[in-house]
Amino acid sequence: MRFVLAGQPNSGKSSIFNSVAGYRSATANFPKSSISFTATKTLIAGREVEVVDLPGIYSVTSSDTVAGPAERYLLNESYDLIVNVVDASRLGRSLELTLQLLGLGRPMIVALNMMDEARRRGVEIDHEELSELLGVPVVTTISRLGRGLKRLFRESLRHATFAVSSTPPTYDREVEEAVEQVRAAIDQDDSIPDIPSRFVAIKLLEGDAHLSDRFRSRAPDLMDRVADVANHLEEVHGWSADQVVSGSRHAVAHSIEDRVVIHQSSKEGWRERADRLLLNEWTGGPLMVLILAGFFWLVFGVGQRVEAPLVVGFNWLQGSVAEQFPPGSLTATIADGLVMGLAGGVAIVLPYLIPFLLGLAILEDTGYLPRLAYILDSFMHRIGLHGKSVLPLILGYGCSVPAIMSTRILESEKDRRITAVLTSFIPCSARTVVIFGLVAAFMGPMWALAIYLLNIFVIVVLGTVLAKRMKGASPGLVLEIPDLSLPEVKTLVAKTWLALKEFITIAWPLLIASSIVLGVLEWADAADSINALLSPLTVWMLGLPAAVGMTLVFGVLRKELTLVMLVQALGTTDINTVMTTQQLLTFTLFVVFYVPCIATIAVLARQMGWRGAAAISGFTVVVAVVVSVSGRVFYSLFF
């Protein structure tokens, strides 16, 4: 048996999914797209049920890139029940999706979620009346607290067993007539496979891009008919057909809302008061600077305090391990590489990575990120983008890979491309580790901050140039600002752990292995030839020790490796004893800007082809050389 969870973004859908996920959950991609969905198998009343979590969609027809694959899934795949998750505090709008889903004519159940939120806003809902009007069971839930979920899944199982198909809603007369005409044309056409013709007729009248594309080549006569009917509808109504249809659905949704909702006066809570300050035209900007600066100091403060004793500990460990083996032997080299790899992971990466990931999760879960998009919109317009691009860019400070993938929230191709390029320049947490571990630790936090500001400056310049050179229109900012919320400790920990697990299971072993490989290469004197090959860049242009050449090569695998490799290549964790501050600065600048890591290049390639990814990678090297050489010159002139 298979249930499909469908709902709008921020409806609490994923917390319902997470409550049953666990025993075998897996992420898969929709056919022919990079958009993924999650599925899990779970036991409900002794029966094994597969629960599929579709990405959140506002509407089945929308310009959103996730809507297409989600729509295709809902139309073509086999499943037994749709669990439509509805945000009770935004009933009217949520019902517009519900009405579309009812049009599929499959068995369906509504989870009326976020009941606590609705009550807080002074909204009481007669869920029995709602069930009557929609013709499907309605179960009230508070998924955040896990309330009502057992009942929801028991009811789902029961409803799916009976397999009662839902009845599509009725719209106003003109729409119904138009739908009927298109539907008749679909039913007559033998070339069209068995599909819910009413649903498809409505979508075609609304100009649904995904379905229209599908039918344009297969059934051109049908599309001509649709155009005729749409024109007629427009003549009668004065509005375009898509507005007539969606307006009619809007009216039905709100008349249902009016019948089932009892409004009471709502009190202004801390959320509204906080928002008034956070989004205020005078205080919003300064508060944003304070919040981001606080974030920076937190990461630095925690990291530095934890790092110092760990480094001392590992130096002692390194010394005592070296004593166990004959000096200069292969075993000693391997043991040393192993300790260095371990030390790099524990003593340098973790102290900065954990507070950083935790801080990012807090920014995400409080709902501050969309507010950042709001505040920075006018700034982003200056570099040819708009506020929504802020979200991928901020996520880029965590990891470039999900950040570049998240550019799909942007509507226009131009915005997506520019944002992806700029995101690859944002110092991700791995690069942050290098900035903190070298510059902040040995030169002071102000220097680290200066690197971040320089990075933003370079991005602004790049963005301005790219926006001028690339063609295409951008629709501008249209973004829901969800309520602020107190993040749950449990989800914060889970989020941080998920990101950390990636580091521990994939990056750390790679780090240790690379550290050993570098040690062996050095032992066999092979590293020298690679270093010599790179020395025009490293020694001549950047004024660094030749030994850093190898570390830059390893850095392409994972950016953290540059720091750990540096420790290994120079043979000490007290890097400031072998490199001058000027060299530390130049090295860090180069690492921050040059070639994104392998994983990022792969994602870029998927987004814009291998040629695009190669072009961007080459471009980053040029930028890195320019920036780090300027940094070197600047430092020698003024300090």
């Binding site: 929308s62 517009e96 507005q243 989004l279 900007g285 919109d377 006018s378 708009h386 973004l479």
Partner: protein
């Protein structure tokens, strides 16, 4: 005729037309903004930044470009935010 980007803070306005392509329109529709809907302007960001509106209990940020494509009608009522719809209609 007014457009949404010129409406002041805490003012209510009713959408009478949405200019621009179907893409923008359908996007606004999915966020619950249709012709005939009442919007309340909650905040206006400085430096020609976006307008924050409340519609059916949801807050939506609209860039100035998008807001200038939404033609609205004003009634001059200053209303509470998040207020019930009936109160809005009665106040009109």
């Amino acid at each position: 005729m007014m457009t949404l980007d010129t409406v002041g803070i805490k003012r209510q306005a009713r959408v009478i037309m949405i200019d621009g392509g179907q893409k923008v329109r359908s996007y606004l529709n999915t966020l619950g903004i249709h012709i005939g809907d009442w919007l309340t302007v909650v905040q206006r960001a400085p430096f020609r930044g976006p307008v924050l509106v409340e519609v059916h209990g949801t807050r939506v940020a609209l860039g100035r470009g998008v807001a200038s494509k939404i033609q609205v009608d004003m009634d001059g009522v200053v209303e509470h935010l998040s207020g019930p719809m009936e109160a809005v209609e009665a106040g009109k």
